[in-house]
């Protein structure tokens, strides 16, 4: 069962690299924001997978909860900040 969690984590990391392309080469600022949001929502799952691999899931689940809140606040604040700019 541990091997399955390990391979799932590796596949999720691969998908994060895929989203990192959009975060680096995105034509507009909001495209980069989409890429960062996708990476953050994959990281929450990856943290719990890491906790299950190391058998410390009671500690990692709190970190995942804090990371989910931080991701939400960061994306919302950045999109409010870039709100009134013309031609990003």
């Amino acid at each position: 069962m541990d091997n399955i969690f390990l391979y799932c984590g590796l596949f999720l990391s691969l998908l994060m690299i895929l989203s990192l392309y959009r975060a680096i080469f995105g034509p507009t600022v909001l495209d980069r924001l989409i890429g960062v949001n996708a990476i953050g929502s994959k990281t929450v799952v990856l943290l719990i997978l890491i906790g299950l691999i190391y058998q410390r899931v009671d500690m990692f689940v709190d970190i995942a909860l804090a990371y989910a809140m931080l991701n939400f606040i960061a994306v919302l604040a950045a999109s409010r900040y870039f709100q009134k700019r013309k031609g990003l």
């Binding site: 909001l30 929450v44 809140m69 919302l76």
Partner: protein
């Protein structure tokens, strides 16, 4: 028996995440790229979190039950917050004056 259910849920969640990643890369426009980012990431993380919470109840005890409830709490929070964040990005795009892509235009 429980392990098979956990593995099936994990694989379905990974398929949803793959669709979201490919959609973010390949859609032609800013607005259409938000569609896989909003829906498929939420669904994929929901399925994978349910699988991990189910696996966590393997050996039943009070501490494991508390951890399982915390994972369900993360699921509820992601289910509420991820579409809200995407809606904030759409709002910023509309106010910045982006024009939606129509058929036949170049991808941007």
């Amino acid at each position: 028996m429980m392990d098979i259910l956990v593995i099936i849920l994990l694989i379905i969640g990974l398929i949803f995440f793959t669709g979201g990643g490919v959609g973010i890369l390949r859609f032609p426009d800013f607005y259409s790229r938000l569609h896989p980012a909003g829906k498929l990431d939420t669904m994929g993380s929901l399925l994978m979190m349910f699988a991990l919470a189910l696996y966590n109840l393997h050996h039943f005890s009070i501490g494991d039950l508390l951890t399982c409830l915390k994972i369900i709490l993360i699921v509820v929070f992601v289910f509420l917050s991820s579409p809200t964040a995407i809606h904030g990005i759409v709002d910023a795009g509309v106010r910045a004056g982006f024009v939606p892509w129509t058929k036949g235009e170049k991808r941007r």
